[in-house]
Amino acid sequence: MSAPRSAAAETAALVEVTRRAADLAVKAGASEAAAGAYRARHVEVSWRDGRLEKVTEATTRGLGLDLYVDGRFASVGTSDLRPEALERFVAGSIALARNLAPDPHRRLPDPALYAGQSAVNLDLEDPAYGALDAAARRRAAAELEAAARAVPGAEAILSVTASVSDTHGESVLVATNGFEGTRRATDFWIGAEVAVKDPDGRRPEEFASAGARHRSAVEPPAVVGRRAGERAVARIGSRKGASAVIPVVVEARAAGRLVGALLGPLAASAVQQKRSFLDGKVGEPVGSPLLDLRDEPLVPRGLGSRRYDGEGLAARPFPVFERGVLRNLYVDTYYGRKLGIAPTTARASNLAWALGPRSPAELLAALGDGLLVTGFLGGNSNGTTGDFSLGVRGFQVRGGQVAGPVAEMNVSGNHLDLWKRLSAVGNDPYPYSAMRTPTLVFDGLQVAGI
């Protein structure tokens, strides 16, 4: 067996591979290039009904190259890092690029945008990562299951699948016009999926999960397992409600599905290609004043945190929506040049919402009658027009209280109308997604059922 190398030696080796790839690209004829390499150790334990179901463990690696060849562009990746193979791959990729039409907008970012990286310690790597062993993972999985099976009504439980996973990853980015960055991060996730028997023969399932950059920040398995069990048991006896236009509360965990549908149309690529219902809306009101969120890349321990983005641009916070008004798009270098606007960053990091003062329970109490959405099922959102139609499940709300479970229903509308109907925002950002969505309340959504 090969002797384990120190963390510093691993990093140095990865930096070396990345630099060599960038050099290789230039030697083989690229006028400029960006190379990114990663290495990750990933362990995943799945546990079902009292014993191990599956254990996956691997160290994986890969390399990507953006090649700028006489004004032409190719983006390529490989997991075959043997020196000769890599040389052939780079030469082949450059030859491929030479077949293309030149594109004057394809150049590396302006190096001025690499400068000014925050010095804040993002604390993305848990120093205790190595302390987690196979026995500890199995213990956590068993605790998840035991907690799920201890909830009231647990006799209806058919099966519990618990999972425990962790990743230690490292990446290096080198651009030939003066950028080099390295990044190390860990994440730890636990979760449980619980299937229950409904007296009518259906076997509804629910889940709960929790994850963080540092293991000590993950909720205890007993808490997550219990939540999964409770959520599953609460699904028993679900019915389809009537079609109506009613107030809808979207649970914080589920709300990412609605907000995620904004991220595609917020991209400069979509705007430049006329495939965005937000085209021409910068500076305009898109939602109610409660739609207020920023892109915050510099949150210590954040799941979406970074000091530089995928192009090497120094990460900076910026407003996306302020009191309902669209302030900024997600703009990468290429589409920024095509549109003639300054880049922000290609993709969202962490979202930071202007939170409301009320808890989910208080929001429900204020709602009166309506629908609480706890999960979406399929459906889609048309990024060009804003039309959406999404399957939902959740609970009826009567007199401000959660009533019976509903399923096999749907909500539909148009995003340009939906966000104007945002009437309340909770105080409860969902911690296990970089979108950190709070509970969202909408007035008068079209719900389809019976």
Partner: protein
């Protein structure tokens, strides 16, 4: 049909077939399997994969971007009962393979089992994706005109067209599976997909739609007829959206057009019939084998054998023969879709549905090409029978809750049916139903089966695999249409 050489004749150190170029030998495989079985276990296998992908992209009038990818790696699996240990690596050195095998072995805790001493290369696989030339022998010069012509023709086809995007992807791939029974199976798996997306403007409104075609095929797949169809469908489907409005909301009859409506089967029954969910007792179809679940004229198959189909395979990713599996025969639930673990669990033969996204994943029971066989009704008769409902023509995506049975599919283009006639186009509507209920309510099936040629991809447990689907025109007596208004 595979290029596997017969090992043994020249000694055990010979390179094995396609993977000889990476230094893969019978000895390396034997050592890896021995390490995998070092703590016992019922079964071990090693899965090598090499996949070379190449994409050309057209935007704003020029083929101005290319993407290329190489995946090379190996996964080692140890199975004990229904427990799985799995490890993978991109490093094909003996040291890395042994470490990977020892990692996978940790699932077992018994005494070592001997690995196979003799290997046999499985010959006589079917040839379901014959190619005139592999994709790595096709020059960019041959592909570029194909992409560029679609752009010009799309702009010429309709003056409202403002933006055109074209992508052409091709893949040359090879897999090699060796297992503890001494079996070695190799397959070469090509794939191609062509996608045309159109954005049009009319009176300040914009609409976008597209069409794509995919198959395990070579450059000859792109016949003039197929390219004409790509163009015609992409432009027509976009133009129709300007006339389309929302569908109504609520329960009503739903008629599914022949072809990509097979998404109904994929979501309403296909996933629920994957045996892993049933083995665990969490599928709504658990305990329903041998029971009637649909009208007698409903017959549903999952088929690996359609030549050139995106969902076709010569052999599954566990090395098992893959043919035509009958899910529903005469309305009766006949067979689950099995991988090796579930087949052992149920004491049946594997059905060749053990598939994986790549060497980074252990296999799972997955669909291939899922469709319903033709039925006794006529398409006109089906549409005429509906007083008020929705006719669904094409789709973008679907999803299912396996246990609750609720499933959805998203309709991009459809029509309102009023008094037996298609009256106005509808768009962007999700339809939601419950699997067993929806199958019971399939009360008319036409004779016009079409298997869709589109590039469908199915996701499960974080793994994506290519699939196909098909359907004759079908009426479902009632489903919930996620539209607006009454």
């Amino acid at each position: 049909m595979t290029e596997s050489q017969r090992p043994g004749a020249d000694g055990p150190r010979d390179g094995i077939g396609y993977f000889a170029r990476f230094g893969v030998t019978e000895r390396l495989i034997a050592d890896t399997l021995a390490a995998a079985l070092s703590r016992g276990g019922d079964h071990a296998d090693v899965f090598f994969q090499h996949r070379i992908g190449s994409d050309l992209g057209l935007e704003d009038g020029a083929v101005n971007r290319a993407y290329a990818s190489v995946e090379l790696g190996v996964g080692v699996r140890v199975v004990r009962g229904d427990q799985t240990g799995y490890g993978y690596t991109e490093d094909l050195s003996p040291e890395a393979l042994l470490e990977c095998a020892r990692t996978a072995a940790a699932i077992a805790d018994g005494p070592a089992r001997p690995g196979p001493v003799r290997f046999h290369v499985q010959a006589g696989l079917p040839d379901r994706y014959p190619l005139s030339r592999p994709w790595d022998a096709v020059l960019p010069d041959e592909k570029l005109p194909l992409v560029a012509a679609l752009n010009e023709r799309a702009f010429a086809a309709d003056p409202r067209v403002r933006k055109v995007n074209v992508f052409l992807r091709d893949e040359a791939g090879a897999i090699l599976l060796a297992d503890s029974s001494g079996r070695i199976v190799e397959d070469r798996q090509p794939m191609t997909i062509l996608s045309l997306s159109v954005l049009a403007e009319q009176g300040g409104r914009r609409e976008q739609n597209g069409y794509n075609v995919a198959g395990r095929a070579g450059i000859e797949f792109y016949t003039p007829e197929r390219l004409d169809r790509v163009l015609r469908e992409a432009v027509a489907r976009t133009a129709l959206l300007f006339e389309a409005g929302p569908a109504p909301a609520g329960e009503m009859p739903v008629v599914l057009a022949a072809g990509s409506s097979g998404i109904l089967l994929h979501e309403a029954i296909g996933h629920g019939m994957e045996a892993d969910f049933n083995r665990k007792g969490v599928s709504i179809y658990a305990d329903k084998i041998g029971k009637p679940i649909a009208r007698p004229f409903v017959n549903i198959v999952d088929d690996a054998a359609n030549p050139g189909a995106r969902g076709a395979i010569n052999v599954d990713d566990e090395g098992n023969a893959a043919g035509t599996t009958r899910l529903v025969e005469g309305g009766v639930l006949a067979t689950y879709l099995h991988d090796a673990i579930s087949a052992r669990h149920y004491g049946v033969s594997p059905t060749g549905n053990g598939r994986r996204e790549s060497y980074r994943h252990p296999p799972l029971p997955r669909m291939r090409s899922t469709y319903m066989l033709p039925g006794p009704h006529r398409t006109e008769e089906i549409i005429r029978s509906v007083k008020r409902g929705v006719y669904c023509v094409n789709f973008s995506n679907g999803q299912v809750n396996i246990g609750a049975g609720d499933f959805t599919f998203y309709v991009k283009n459809g029509w309102l049916i009023e008094d037996g006639r298609l009256t106005r186009p509808v768009k962007d509507v999700n339809i939601i139903g419950n699997g067993p209920k929806a199958l019971e309510q399939v009360d008319m099936v036409s004779d016009d089966l079409a298997i869709d040629e589109g590039g469908w991809t199915c996701g499960k447990d974080g793994q994506s695999v290519p699939v196909s689907q098909g359907l004759p025109t079908v009426r479902v007596a009632s489903m919930t249409v996620g539209g607006r208004g009454a």
